[in-house]
Symmetry: none
Subunit: 185 residues, 4 copies
DNA sequence: GATGAATGAGCGTTCATTCAT
DNA sequence: AATGAATGAACGCTCATTCAT
């Protein structure tokens, strides 16, 4: 009977996203939605109201990630912007391996999602600037980068030891390392 | 695919593996086990007897793949053996993207599986011979190859268009192509 | 039908009744109450204030119907009044088959509802006048009529084709037609 | 963990039908399916296996009713057969008022059900024999009878007092009584 | 050894009801 | 007085697992 304030809608949304992020990572994309609601301290109906499907939850998390990347892109007009973006993107990849399962699901129940295109748009300018400044192999395309990110997902998601995820990502990128300056600080 | 014939234990096992392979690919690793039994024309209890868990089914399929690779390794003592093995391995990867989900599951409910080590053992000799013959970059280690295969999984499994899987694998490998002669026939 | 205008209590009540009438007819008596509120452009809490239970909504619609019948009864002191009333009553029956579900519900969760008695009171005078004028079989009682109306509900509500409702009502009444002059204009 | 014998399939089916018949009558067509399973002493999954939808359960009950009627029709070649059939049919109607709700549902989610046609086929011969023998008004058609049965549903289902159901059916039929010899033994 | 019906916990979803605003 | 988000019990349904035959 404990009714929270109806005005806590925005807070609930935040709490649900945070719980989803955490439980997706800890227990996989197919964690029970009721567990997410419980973890967020929110009723099942409210979860449903905010995010009618599991995918809506996943896409909302992507959206948050995008916001972070957009902020980086907007704040740094220099040639170093690209590497910051790329590191953050790989960071998201390492943190959210559960989204490979999202991708697997999406292949079977296709959804209209413009994420990749938006990411391309976001990276193009910074990549060009970095290449002009001689920081990145000029032959590398944004498409190559998108593929590389997906490959990193593969490397991480098949890693038995969760603690090794970052190291695996580094090793994976090193396999193409002459072209990309990842890892050198 | 439903068989009405007198079903011996061995035949049932074969039928179950074939159905699992097909349904894992078509409907994903989490397809209902009852669907596999039905597709194989076998009772649910028999599926259970042969493969107590879903993972047992997956590992048995890996085992079949191993057998194919071992046959190649045993039959070709020349320097070209490695590339044949590698191509077949990538072929298996393309065919069974569902096994990324197996890997994801396995991370959460860890199982003692010696697959990677066996694969290393299988590839070491042929790789060395290929490197001696100048066919493959001598700096490439078997560990690099294992990682590369896992990266290919990532590229494929995040590909929305199933028909593009092979092409994506090729593109993924080209990102490291100077070192590996994949694709040149 | 969603109204954005400043909504007074009385307007809300009207809008809710109109939406309930429509949705009961279109989607059945058990349509979600939230759908009625939404359709009326009114908050769920306001629906609640006006009509605490689903049955209150149904009874309020009956009440509106009564008002129409009372107006007819009050306005026509002649012998033809009865048939006008009867036709309108059968009309309401055809329009609101969903109320059979109300009746079914009411049988299980009995409610003190004086509808039938009021209807008897409303029809008695006009029926007597019609019988005196030789327009209706003098052996027919008001109770018979009430039962007949209920029988018409049965005929309509079991009719698969909604468009056939009126025709079914006519056929149903014809089964007792020598006694009642329904249908002859 | 109490597992009943897998061979109790037929018994389970019977138990489910009996429970459904009883609970549909007592608590309405929309009684929880889990309540029916519980009442029958059967798991929910088994209910589902035997009757995938609520409607399947309802139709199976109709089927049982049909079997009873067919047995009467087959066993009595005389002119009195029709009245026995008709009494039994009205008896089923009185017993299973919940099926008005089935009909209401069916109007919204139409289903291909040949019940009425079968009933017509079942009654035609016996009705003709009864009419030849002068037991029933020769002007009465089978279609009239079907409609009459539906009208009886309306009379019963709108009756507040469940104990009055039979009496209401009798009164309802008396409204057309010169034509049909119902009630006189 | 094979069978397939039975089981029931657990999931996603719906919705009447409440209540801070 | 009106709003509409929050709640959570309850439903239909799925499916891994068991076991009498």
């Amino acid at each position: 009977m404990s009714t929270e304030s109806p005005s806590s809608a925005a807070e609930n949304r935040e709490a649900l996203l945070a719980s989803a992020r955490r439980l997706f990572a800890a227990r996989g994309y197919h964690v029970a939605l009721s567990a997410i609601a419980r973890d967020a301290g929110v009723g099942q109906g409210s979860l449903y109201r905010h995010f009618p499907t599991r995918l809506d939850l996943a896409l909302a998390i992507f959206e948050e990630n995008f916001t972070v990347l957009e902020r980086i892109a907007a704040s740094d007009p220099g040639p170093g912007c690209f590497l910051r973006l790329w590191r953050r993107l790989i960071g998201f990849t390492v943190e959210s391996t559960a989204f490979v399962e999202t991708a697997v699901d999406a292949r079977r129940q296709p959804v209209d999602y413009r994420g990749p295109e938006r990411l391309v748009g976001l990276l193009s300018g910074p990549l060009a600037r970095a290449q002009e400044a001689g920081l990145v192999d000029p032959a590398l395309t944004v498409g190559d980068l998108m593929l590389l990110q997906r490959m990193v997902y593969g490397a991480i998601v098949t890693e038995v030891d969760p603690a090794a995820a970052s190291a695996v990502a580094v090793r994976a990128l090193e396999l193409v390392d002459e072209r990309l300056a990842w890892g050198e600080d």
